[in-house]
């Protein structure tokens, strides 16, 4: 089985983002970028499937500007075998990304596609579910455990009430949650090796996908700030404030 892993280049999760002065978006120039943390978990899971002999090949795919090659190289350094860049600038909306990924999947014929549950820039949480819909494949979203058993995939999902188990008919789309695994760091030799692994490039045109946006961002602003609070020094003081000042207990 071949596993496809779509990965996104985003602002590093540790960076405090700043809204641009003209309110057109957030500041992206000279900011540290990294692989979306959920995508790292997706890559890790795919590599583990290959190490377990369940998968033969792991292909990472990124949709985005040419700098996304760095993210793909990170995936290759973690252990993916090949990379595909669908070059677009700017990065399109989730529906268009899902259409591009569908076109790639139709060329590659994977047995499973593993995505992150959410990209931490747009916080959309859509792409995997959309891709599964376009392909008419089964979907296991927010997965914290995954087991391949013949032609079915058993997954545990993190849902609001706790955990849910479902069995998917392969080929399946999986979106991963934080507790599925602990992604590995790429070693220096593997980073060197990754430079020589194959990376092919496509465009939306050659994949026959219209990526024109459906949404217009009118403005991006800072959220309302909370007013500064006060410090208390005892339990009695805290309870008194909560009861008589804030009136919340």
């Amino acid at each position: 089985m071949k596993v496809l892993v779509p990965i996104k280049r985003v602002i590093d999760a540790n960076i405090k983002v700043r809204v641009k002065a003209d309110h057109s978006g957030v500041e992206l120039s000279n900011v540290k970028m990294a692989m979306n943390p959920f995508c790292e978990i997706a890559v890790e899971e795919a590599i583990r499937l290959r190490e377990a002999g369940t998968a033969e090949e792991v292909v990472v795919v990124a949709v985005g500007p040419s700098q996304s090659q760095e993210t793909l190289r990170t995936g290759l350094a973690m252990g993916a075998d090949r990379a595909i860049l669908v070059e677009t600038d700017p990065i399109p909306e989730p529906l268009a990304i899902a259409k591009l990924l569908k076109a790639v999947a139709e060329k590659e014929n994977p047995g499973m596609i593993i995505l992150g549950k959410q990209a931490i820039d747009g916080d959309n949480n859509q792409t995997g579910q959309m891709l599964a819909g376009l392909l008419n494949w089964s979907i296991g979203s927010f997965v914290s455990n995954l087991e391949v058993a013949g032609s079915s995939v058993k997954v545990t999902r993190e849902v609001d009430g706790g955990l849910e188990n479902i069995e998917l008919v392969a080929p399946a789309v999986i979106t991963v949650d934080l507790r599925l695994n602990e992604p590995r760091y790429a070693s220096l030799p593997n980073i060197m090796k990754a430079k020589k692994k194959p990376l092919e490039t496509h465009t939306p045109e050659d994949l026959g996908v219209d990526v024109s946006p459906r949404l217009e961002v009118l403005q991006v602003v800072e959220p309302a700030a909370r007013a500064a609070g006060v410090l208390v020094t005892s339990a009695d003081e805290l309870v008194d404030k909560l009861r008589n000042e804030a009136k919340v207990i």
């Binding site: 529906l95 916080d123 949480n125 819909g133 609001d160 955990l163 008919v169 919340v248």
Partner: protein
């Protein structure tokens, strides 16, 4: 405007998230139908019928819909959608799993997790873990939207709308439900609780979390946690509050041994009053706290317990 609200339920009863979504729908227009799609789901449909201000409940009652599987539900939403200008679902794990699939089938770019409505085509939503708020206008004729439940009041339940049967689901046979491990608790549910006591890595163990649970019970509160506390196995996954867990906005949120990482703040900074209990005065949680107490939590919790006891009404 005619709006379809996807009701969230467990067949026998309606989930409260549906009530918040109906309130969002009311900001768009006054022709609102609520879909209850399940199996043996008359209980949930009857409860939906009591929501104030809705036109109808559409009840799709079929075996293939029993477990809320997106593969079977999305085609039903696709076939119903032509009668509406907007389809709304809660931004809960149920809605997040389902609605994007329906959007893809309908060739619509969904708008996720809206916290405000400017006009029938323009919406406000948090991005970058709530570090920025984006106002977006949709050019799609049909709008598919998931709604941040904490941003809209719960609709009242004083009505009696008619319940009409609908069909159109498919049994895609792509997935099967194989059981669940739901967290059972006598305490209020996190997303609707009026008071939440949350613990972080500072709690050090699941045994210590029992202290917080006792405190929560005194306050009639729900118990939440940071990702670090969940990852360490102190509490189950569904306790996680944050960018990638639950979004909550109680009247009172007490954060104990939580540093206040941006991803945690994303899930709780709309709470009315925030209390931070942390021994590190530099912890970022103090920047959003209304009342901060710089103290070792293992001293603070028993004292707080005692103070509540002493002044109990």
């Amino acid at each position: 405007m005619s709006i379809l609200v996807i009701g969230e339920h467990d067949n026998s009863s309606l989930r409260p998230s549906t009530l918040n979504v109906v309130s969002a729908a009311k900001e768009l227009g006054d022709s609102i139908d609520v879909l209850v799609a399940g199996s043996d789901c008359q209980g949930a449909a009857q409860e939906a019928a009591t929501i104030t201000g809705i036109a109808r409940v559409l009840a799709a009652d079929e075996l293939a819909l029993a477990d809320g599987l997106a593969e079977n539900l999305a085609p039903l939403i696709q076939s119903l959608a032509e009668n509406y200008t907007h389809v709304l679902a809660p931004a809960t794990t149920y809605g997040k799993n389902l609605l994007p699939r329906a959007a893809a089938l309908l060739d619509v770019q969904q708008i996720s997790d809206i916290s405000g409505i400017e006009s029938p085509d323009t919406f406000v939503r948090p991005i970058y873990a709530g570090n920025a708020m984006a106002t977006v206008r949709s050019g799609d004729a049909l709008k598919l939207i998931t709604v941040r439940t904490t941003s809209f009041e719960a609709a009242e339940q004083t009505g009696s709308a008619p319940v009409e049967p609908v069909s159109g689901s498919v049994d895609a046979q792509l997935s099967t439900f194989a059981g669940e491990e739901l967290t059972r608790s006598e305490r209020p549910e996190l997303t609707t609780a009026d008071i939440i006591v949350s613990g972080g890595r500072g709690m050090q163990s699941s045994e210590n979390f029992a202290m917080l649970e006792a405190l929560a019970d005194k306050l009639g509160a729900a118990v939440g946690a940071s990702r670090a506390a969940v990852d360490a196995g102190y509490v189950p996954n569904d306790y996680q509050v944050g960018q990638t867990g639950k979004v909550v906005a109680p009247s009172l949120y007490i954060a104990v041994g939580i540093s206040g990482a941006i991803q945690h703040l994303a899930g709780m900074k709309d709470s009315k009053i925030i209390v931070a209990i942390n021994k590190d005065e530099e912890a970022p949680i103090f920047q959003v706290a209304d009342y901060g107490w710089v103290v070792d939590l293992f001293e603070a919790i028993p004292q707080l317990d005692a103070a509540l006891e002493a002044t109990a009404r």
